[in-house]
């Protein structure tokens, strides 16, 4: 009897213990959520690794914004323009500040998905350089404020790649010498196809289906050489020597990094130049706060800290002057005029071409369209199997039934 009581008491104690922990956790999570419910929260949707988060000793931009204004920032990231578009279009999530690139801004304007900005609230936009105003994607300069820009270049591991730097061109990604050492863009159809268009010396804004198909075929041919499709891990993989070559966006990482093995080159034959800009979607719930956020980001004091971490090129020369001169004067980061004269910006393509681009890209990712017959065969086998079992059972049941009758 005594024993049982002891056990029961023990059990009760344990139960209470677990319950207290659970209740505590529950209350804590509710409390945490209530806190963010009380304040206004803006949803900021940015590229991955595209803001200073306080990790390199620079200012944590979002935290500073929260501190100064009391507005909470819910910061999430995406991998490419197309998934940003999908998320805006195909889910009922409401974002307040987004950072699309040039051609996507044009597309969003065309589809009437972003709102005109109130430049009275974004006073700091006046610090943006003239050459970035009224760009071709936003001719009236009403929808976007440039955030960063850069070009696509080739990152390589100096130990593995022995071609001289001047000779590295886009066709190096098709060089069988580097089999299993080549990285490719994971997600962006435009960037991936642009690569083989550049290799074929075609326009990256081509609207000819034949050109695109040729480019896609090149990509399919390239597949056996590829190590993996990655996005932000290029530096890890090249730095460690797991891979040798990757196309990626120009980034001051190369200047800042202590890893001597990583080299960067922008091919002389031409490349893509991109501008990422800040926009506010039409269905944003907190447009005023979104403008405040954009204004905050444009503030040169903040931008210096931010760009120092993000390491893309800044459209504000005020900011560039205050950056680490090693970065600000580096031709690797800020490409020379010669390169810029040969670089093209993506244009927004018509809808049907866009769909074709996406489908062709997906085709290259899945290694072409084939195996239709086999699939149908497998389906048929499955269905047949199902029915044979059903029929077999049915017959068995009838036999048993007959047995019972006897």
């Amino acid at each position: 009897m005594k024993n049982i009581k002891l056990i029961i008491r023990n059990k009760v104690f344990l139960f209470v213990f677990v319950a207290v922990i659970l209740v505590f956790l529950f209350l804590k999570s509710i409390f945490g959520n209530c806190q963010s419910f009380k304040k206004i929260t803006i949803n900021v949707y940015n590229w991955g690794n595209h803001i200073s988060d306080g990790s390199n000793g620079y200012l944590d931009v979002n935290a500073e914004f929260e501190k100064r204004t009391g507005i909470q920032v819910n910061y999430t990231t995406y991998l490419d323009n197309e998934s940003l578009f999908a998320k805006l279009n195909g889910s009922s999530t409401k974002y307040d500040v987004i950072f699309p690139s040039d051609y996507m801004i044009a597309k969003l304007i065309e589809k009437d998905m972003i709102t005109k900005l109130d430049f009275n609230m974004i006073k700091n936009a006046s610090t943006i350089d003239k050459e970035f105003l009224n760009p071709q994607y936003d001719p009236t300069n009403e929808y976007s404020v440039p955030y960063t820009w850069g070009v696509i270049g080739i990152f390589y591991n100096k130990k593995i790649v022995d071609d001289p730097k001047e000779k590295i061109d886009w066709d190096i990604f098709w060089n069988p010498k580097y089999k299993g050492k080549i990285l490719m863009f994971e997600n962006s159809p435009r960037d991936a196809l642009a690569l083989s268009l550049l290799k074929l010396k075609l326009s990256i804004n081509t609207t000819k289906i034949e050109d695109l198909q040729r480019a896609a075929q090149e990509m399919i041919n390239q597949r056996p050489l590829i190590n993996s499709y990655v996005s932000e891990q290029v530096f890890d993989k090249i730095g460690s020597g797991e891979a040798a070559l990757a196309p990626y966006y120009s980034d001051a990482y190369i200047v800042n990094s202590k890893n001597e093995d990583i080299g960067f080159v922008v091919p002389k034959s031409g490349t893509n130049k991109f501008v990422n800009a800040m926009c506010v979607p039409k269905d944003s719930n907190h447009k005023k706060e979104a403008m405040q956020y954009i204004n905050f980001i444009c503030n040169p004091d903040i931008a210096v800290e931010n760009i120092s971490h993000v390491a893309y090129c800044t459209p504000q020369s005020v900011v560039r002057k205050r950056l680490d001169p090693k970065v600000a004067n580096s031709e690797l980061v800020y490409p020379s005029k010669e390169i810029l004269s040969k670089s093209f910006t993506y244009k927004n393509l018509p809808d049907d071409i866009n769909i074709a681009v996406n489908n062709l890209w997906l085709k290259t990712r899945i290694d072409g369209y084939n195996g239709k017959l086999k699939l149908i065969l497998i389906f048929l086998i499955f269905i047949l199997l199902y029915f044979t079992i059903l029929i077999y059972k049915f017959i068995k049941k009838r036999k048993e039934f007959k047995l019972y009758e006897f």
Binding site: A86, K87, N89, V230, E242, L375, F379, K393
Partner: protein, 271 residues
Amino acid sequence: MKKRVVLPPYIFWLVTFVLVPMSLVVYFAFTDKNGNFSLSNLNDVFLYSNVFLRSIWLGFIATSFCFLIGYPTAYIISRVNIKCRKFLIAMIMLPMWTNFLLKTYAWMTILEERGFVSCFFQFLGIGKFSLINTSSAVVFGMVYNFITYMILPIYSVLIRNDRHLVEAAQDLGANQLKIFLKVTFPLSLPGVIAGIAMVFVPSVSTFVLSKMLGGGKDLLIGDIIDMQFLGSVYNPCLGSAISLVLMILVFICSGIMNQFVKREERTVIAL
């Protein structure tokens, strides 16, 4: 009296959050972008046949590996004494309770070219050995992540089996192998089939494994569906059509499985 009050909310819930969404999938699968009826999506699904084939094939390999590893494990566990059994089951449950992505992430670092496994093989003198970014790594991830679903149902069936049957067979002069083939294995069949279903379905439809372990080279159906909805190739109608085909495939499979399992056992196994 009571059932009238109690059930309608639940039925309402089931209809709104299970049946309506599924019919939406069917609806979108049969419409084009402007909302008109069309079969072109279903036609386009077959363009991705090789993705389906690859998923089914990898799922099949993963399931067989799970079975080959899982059955002996379950058998051994059901044979040891009760204390040991508890411990072993807890050990098997342990990885199941850690986050799926964390496990995969850990494997990413372990399987890397400079990672743990490759160092180990180099140490053994076999030479450089890199699994990551191959489809074997994807299969490996599937086996690792889903093997618990194979072990647990087999184990729960084995443990409920009547020991006396084995003893009876022994008395009748059957040897170990014969007992296993004629008595134990047939009796554990429901568990095996449940296990196969529970491994095959998630491994066919998994969607981050191939990106994380396979280097994105061998995309599976799950990845394609993801791309159509929230990824780079926005086309929810085609995505729905692909999901519909996947759903049908899974239903056929579970239909086949159901034929083998008696009704009362089904509820047990579903848990």
